[in-house]
């Protein structure tokens, strides 16, 4: 019973928010434009949140994703400019996209190596790299953004009436769900988060798997960052400020435990959509972005508190 409540709760709250908005702002909320807009925003946050799901299930945390997104964007745009001049086209855009994603992989790899080889806490390492990556992104062009006017495909492209960014999001969801459920890496992620010592005793190569996990979040952050750059046709060194908190919130609202061993991709998607719709709804209802922070804050604490209660109930009935 308790378990069912736990699984349905985030989904129920999501539906509730959608219903409230549908009633209060039926015209604007249900317009295709508005819904696609929410989904596009969700695809950027959601792809990173999926990476964060792996990290949190393994018992870790990655605070550096926001800065990482900025560094990926700046690297990509800088390369596009270097190859294609002031208004890069074609190959330059693809090469830059590849470089941006590669930058994400390398940043994640660096986090993973620091955490495992030097036995440092993920919180500390990524707190450090959060600052370090942001610094590099800012120093690259002295704090100035790089405009890539024709880099539109990932942000605005459409295949069979569906936006490319949403298709990428869907592909990432399917692949990561598969990894988490059907591959040893996914299984070991849960095992390491549940009991790292026991995982080591059971022959899991804990360090290798953790490096993989942090590399995956780097890769996904790289992909998400390229979508973001394309949506705004510019790379901002200040992109993704505070993004890590929204992403962690999405994962936690989705039912993952910060102490590790628990969490699902589906839960994270619901958590991401919940925050996106909430922000969208606040905007539609004319609540200022400043006041939105108050609402989001309340939702996070309530979601986690209710989750804890439901969990306690599960334990009692078990």
């Amino acid at each position: 019973m308790g378990k069912l409540i736990r699984q349905l709760l985030p989904f129920g709250s999501l539906m509730l928010i959608v219903c409230i908005l549908a009633i209060l702002r039926p015209d604007t909320f249900f317009s295709i434009d508005n819904l696609l807009n929410v989904l596009r925003r969700s695809s950027v946050y959601g792809i990173i949140a999926i990476g964060m799901t792996f990290v949190i299930i393994s018992g870790g945390i990655d605070l550096s994703v926001g800065s990482m997104a900025a560094i990926c964007g700046m690297f990509a745009a800088a390369l596009m400019e270097a190859i294609g001049g002031a208004n890069p086209q074609g190959f330059a855009l693809w090469a830059g996209t590849g470089a941006g994603i590669l930058a994400g992989i390398l940043c994640g790899l660096a986090n993973g190596i620091l955490i495992t080889k030097f036995r440092l806490q993920p919180f500390i390492v990524t707190l450090g790299t959060m600052s370090f990556f942001r610094g590099i992104a800012l120093v690259m062009r002295d704090g100035q953004p790089i405009n890539i006017p024709d880099y539109k495909y990932l942000g605005e492209g459409i295949i069979a009436t569906i936006p490319v960014s949403i298709l990428i999001f869907a592909a990432v969801i399917i692949m990561t769900m598969f990894i988490l459920k059907y591959t040893p890496l996914g299984r070991y992620t849960y095992a390491i988060g549940s009991n790292r010592e026991a995982a080591f005793h059971a022959g899991v190569r804990v360090e290798k798997n953790l490096i993989w996990i942090y590399t995956i979040i780097g890769l996904l952050t790289g992909i998400a960052s390229m979508i973001q750059v394309s949506r705004t046709v510019s790379a901002q060194p200040t992109a993704g400020l505070g993004l890590e908190l929204d992403v962690i919130a999405a994962v936690v609202i989705g039912g993952a435990s910060l102490s590790g061993g628990q969490g699902t991709i589906i839960g994270t998607i619901i958590g991401t959509l919940l925050i996106s719709f909430l922000r969208n709804g606040c905007t539609l209802l004319g609540i200022s972005t400043n006041a939105q922070l108050i609402v989001i804050g309340i939702i996070i604490v309530v979601a986690v508190a209710v989750d804890q209660l439901a969990q306690a109930k599960t334990r009692q009935t078990a």
Binding site: K181, Y182, T183, P184, G186, R187, Y188, Y190, A191, S194, N195, E197, A198, A199, F200, H201, A202, G203, V204, R205, G261, Q262, A318
Partner: protein
């Protein structure tokens, strides 16, 4: 069954009567009586699991007895928590000292009990001064301003003693105080105990190192299987007699028989040294043989297993399976080479809490069941379910969370894990600890069937009867060294206990 008798005007410091304590289905103590004379040193001895620590934790207010009464100096007492016991004058010093590492000796002595000025400013000066005063009075040599992390274990014990005495206790319970001390430190502790006795402090001393109590204790109470088997003035007892009381138990046909052909030498461990706890250990195990490993807590048995399995780093030594040397630096290497280790600490290093029983079984075996790349959940569940039927795990299904199972069934899940691994050499570390009698018998039968399949088994246990009931040979460890390698049918529990517990042979 009486110790030194106390007269009417001078009631005994402690009288415990009919103390019974159960933990779930396991009865830890069954009607234990204990009488401790004021100002004496009273030793409580017994094998691991005999109930010594449980009895003392009841006296110190950590546990509440299910039945029985306690009288302190003739007055009935009932403790709900350790603080109430301290208020009544009883304090216990645990094997694992619980001092705050970053505070000074004086700060620890007064922890939770600090002298204050204006009722909110800590009076550091008074703490240091009072600690130094008490230490001087007791002839303890200790610097009140030294941080705990810089002190030796025996100095930490001194701090614990000061902490207790600062609260004006009259009875001090010491649980295995010498287990982590060197020979010299132990000698110093004995002197301290004797000094405390001179000051009129009553001391209850739990140990299973026998040679030390003969000279130290006034009275000895011997526990076995949660009951008192003997109580006498120390000077009337010899070490031999004490050992007989400790182990004196018949082997019923509790242990199923085995028809294994003992074959080639499968396992060879040569000159294994690791950490400070394993010193130059060498042994061999034949295919089809169950070799027991006996020793006191802290003798280095688990550490030996951990060094073999790759959990702890080896400083030197080599391991051969079927005469081929294998290099092991992590448990993963061991598992690939066909070694399995069933941990003694299920919670900490065995179970994946929150995950399903099925996942708990298959985790190290994804390679072995052909799921190294892609996991097939339906097939995986079937494998787990078949195993559970084979060894009789009672669970709602392979999807049930591991936490919902009883201790015995959790242990069987871990055993199923290593059965699935198809290992050649299995190390079972205290496989029957904390599980009920029925499950114990099933685990013995499982050990037998593994031996009959030609596996080599190292069976670590603190319970001598089960070692004698199951093992072909018994290795005895003491202080990190292998001190005995005996055929079970040519030795006795007394001989093994003597090797394990008595220095210098």
């Amino acid at each position: 069954m009486t110790g030194t008798m106390a007269d009417k005007e001078n009631p005994p410091a402690i009288v415990m009567k009919g103390i019974t304590k159960r933990f779930g289905p396991v009865q830890a103590l069954g009607g234990v009586d204990l009488m401790v004379t004021k100002g004496s040193v009273h030793a409580i001895v017994g094998e691991n699991g005999a109930g010594k620590s449980t009895l003392m934790k009841i006296l110190a207010g950590v546990f509440r007895p299910d039945e029985g009464t306690i009288k302190i100096e003739g007055r009935p007492a009932e403790f709900n928590d350790p603080q109430q016991a301290i208020d009544a004058g009883i304090s216990m010093i645990y094997q694992e000292l619980d001092l705050a590492q970053h505070l000074t000796a004086a700060q620890n002595v007064f922890l939770g009990n600090e002298p204050k000025r204006f009722s909110f400013i800590l009076d550091q000066k008074a703490m240091i001064q009072k600690t130094a005063e008490l230490a001087r009075r007791l002839n303890f040599d200790i610097n009140p301003q030294a941080k705990i992390k810089d002190l030796s274990t025996s100095d930490c014990q001194v701090v614990e003693i000061l902490k207790a005495l600062m609260r004006h206790v009259s009875v001090l319970v010491m649980d295995e105080p010498t287990s982590s001390l060197s020979q010299q430190e132990a000698q110093r502790l004995f002197k301290i105990v004797k000094d405390l006795r001179k000051q009129g402090i009553t001391i209850i001393y739990i140990t299973h190192r026998l040679e030390e109590i003969i000279n130290l204790a006034d009275d000895i109470t011997i526990l076995r299987d949660g009951a008192v088997v003997h109580c006498e003035t120390a000077s009337n007892l010899s070490i031999g007699q004490i050992i007989r009381y400790m182990v004196g138990r018949e082997l019923k046909d509790f242990f199923p028989s085995r028809k294994a052909d003992i074959g080639r030498t499968l396992v060879k461990v040569k000159n294994l040294t690791a950490k400070a706890k394993v010193k130059d250990v060498s042994f061999e195990i034949q295919a089809g043989e169950v070799v027991g490993m006996a020793g006191l807590v802290g003798a280095g048995r688990t550490e030996t297993a951990c060094a073999v399995f790759g959990i702890d780093k080896k400083t030197s030594g080599s391991i051969y399976l079927d005469d081929i040397e294998i290099k092991i630096s992590t448990p993963a290497d061991s598992i690939t080479n066909g070694i399995a280790y069933l941990t003694e600490d299920r919670k900490r290093t065995g179970l994946f809490s929150g995950l399903s029983c099925c996942w708990n079984i298959t985790l190290p075996n994804l390679d072995a069941i052909g799921m190294a790349v892609i996991i097939k959940p339906a097939k995986e569940n079937k494998i787990a379910d078949d195993l559970s039927q084979r060894i009789g795990i009672k669970w709602p299904g392979p999807d049930a969370p591991i936490d919902s199972l009883s201790g015995g069934n959790q242990q069987k899940v871990l055993i199923a894990r290593w059965l699935l691994a198809e290992a050649r050499f299995l190390i079972f570390d205290e496989p029957t600890r904390g599980i009920d009698v029925g499950a114990k018998k099933e685990i013995y039968a499982l050990l037998n069937s593994l031996a009959e399949q030609g596996k080599a088994i190292l069976f670590i246990s603190s319970e001598l009867p089960e070692l004698f009931g199951i093992a072909d040979r018994i290795l005895v460890m003491r202080r990190g060294r292998l001190v005995g390698n005996l055929r079970t049918n040519e030795t006795s529990q007394e001989e093994v206990m003597h090797l394990a517990a008595v220095e210098g042979n």
